[in-house]
């Protein structure tokens, strides 16, 4: 499979803001802080941005609100809303727009104040009409239905789900930027308040404030910036359903297809990947995505994550910042998979830096296991 876009664009700046609790700040203020941090990282000013890739959980036209807030008049605007996967999805559209000359500096950005503003997940979605009468609690009921089926078919256990949360906490404890850094044991996850069987409150991602941003330019000028460029080697998406009741197979996500195409585009395979950043809204996500992306066989994800195998010092570094489970989860987490993957490649990860990272995978999930987007990022050595 040829990929005309392989390595054509590079991340030259990353930034974040408002992690945890950003008291008194609006979502747009956090968004702007993240944008300015990423531009500062790239040595650029706001007036250089002519491509804006943004969605938020605030308005029906959040990208336009963001452009107005930042005082820019982008000539390319992308605001496709595929949930938390949107930002990984924008890596594809930003690369396309840069390569086609439709913009020269692409800013992908997000911000939310949902923890201090409301304390719970904010959504502008309407309840699905054929599900609403049964009063599911979104999004957790959807993930609980998938987890229950996975346990039934493959013998996956609550202990294995808990190991995902414990591993994420292990990484977060080494990351000064992470929100939840206290001790967490498998027993604590198992005995935590049940929310939606089989998921306890410790199987769920955090609800925090936070914003993130990355800046991309065409590869030909990427070496002119202060930080080592991180190239987009391949990115691919697949959408399988919208409502959980329409999920074709509750144990298989569209990450199988998005992953296969992203790996093919990048010309690499799972065994080549040095660090893996997955959208872990719930503990079952990590297991599903490790299987569907090819890091283990279908049904073996539970065994794969057991006993610290994806924790610091394990066999595969997964969610090295602590993930949505322990680092940050401001409604949509996708942008942070990109930021952590890029920083691991650059060698300036905020927590545990893995040695000699050349290839990193960032995987975004949107909706209720709905939209799956996989990106493979690489250092200059991988071009």
């Amino acid at each position: 499979m040829t990929n005309q876009l392989r390595g054509k664009a590079a991340i030259v700046g990353t930034g974040h803001a408002g992690f945890g609790e950003a008291h008194g700040l609006t979502a747009y203020e956090i968004m702007a802080q993240a944008a300015l941090a990423a531009l500062g990282d790239a040595g650029l000013k706001l007036n250089a941005v002519d491509g804006l890739f943004c969605t938020m959980m605030e308005d029906s036209m959040p990208a336009l609100m963001a452009a107005e807030y930042l005082g820019i008049r982008p000539r390319f605007v992308e605001g496709t809303m595929t949930g938390g996967s949107s930002f990984v999805n924008y890596l594809t559209s930003a690369t396309m727009a840069l390569e086609a000359g439709l913009c020269d500096v692409a800013l992908i950005v997000y911000g939310s104040n949902q923890r201090t503003a409301s304390g719970k997940l904010v959504t502008v979605s309407r309840p699905p009409p054929y599900e609403a009468p049964y009063n599911p609690r979104y999004p957790i009921s959807a993930y609980a239905l998938a987890a229950a089926r996975h346990m039934h078919e493959f013998g996956t256990t609550r202990e294995q789900l808990a190991d995902v949360a414990v591993a994420a906490r292990g990484w977060a404890q080494q990351n000064p930027e992470a929100f939840e850094r206290g001790p967490l044991t498998q027993e604590q996850v198992l005995s935590a308040r049940m929310v939606c069987d089989p998921l306890s409150v410790r199987d769920c991602c955090l609800v925090t404030d936070g914003g993130g941003a990355v800046v991309l330019v065409r590869a030909e000028r990427a070496k002119d910036f202060p930080k080592p460029p991180v190239y987009v080697l391949g990115s691919a998406a697949e959408s399988a359903h919208r409502q959980i009741s329409q999920m074709p197979d509750f144990t298989v996500t569209a990450a199988r297809e998005s992953g296969q195409r992203a790996f093919a585009a990048a010309g690499v395979k799972p065994a080549d990947i040095d660090v893996v950043e997955l959208y872990d809204a719930f503990t079952i996500n990590t297991i599903l995505f490790l299987e569907d992306l090819g890091f283990c066989k279908k049904g073996e994800g539970g065994t794969f994550v057991e006993g610290g195998r994806i924790a610091p010092g394990g066999v595969l570094p997964v969610n090295t910042n602590g993930g949505g489970l322990s680092c940050v989860h401001p409604g949509m987490y996708g942008i942070f998979t990109i930021i952590e993957a890029a920083r691991q490649i650059r060698g300036d990860a905020p927590g545990l830096q893995i040695k000699d990272v050349n290839l990193a995978l960032a995987h975004g999930n949107g909706g209720v296991l709905t939209s799956q987007v996989t990106a493979i990022l690489g250092s200059a050595a991988t071009l």
Binding site: Y134, N135, L145, A148
Partner: protein, 125 residues
Amino acid sequence: METTGHPDKMFRNGLAEGRIILPKCRSCGKFHFFPRLVCPHCHAMEFAWHPVSGRGEIHTTTVVRQKPEHGGDYNICMVELEEGVRMMSRVEGLAPQEVKIGMVVTAYVGEAAGGAAVLCKPAEG
């Protein structure tokens, strides 16, 4: 029953009459749910509507935990009907924790959230 141009209304009218009726594609022969203008299996647009048998199996299930003062725990499940479609539902007549994957149930029209809706009960015998 023949095709109508209002599949959502057709289904809801069925529920209002106490019947679960679903569209079956005249081209590929498969049922689908939720009802729509285009067959999600083969994209054909002609359907015959049939009442379902009600025989089904719990495909997956969860208990939404809720404080007793707010109504207590309740079940949410996906039921797979023998016609080959899955839909969200709730099992009645059983503690929510007792609902298990693989359980054989009977789907019927009951009431949920103030309207007619497909509910399930453990199959008899």
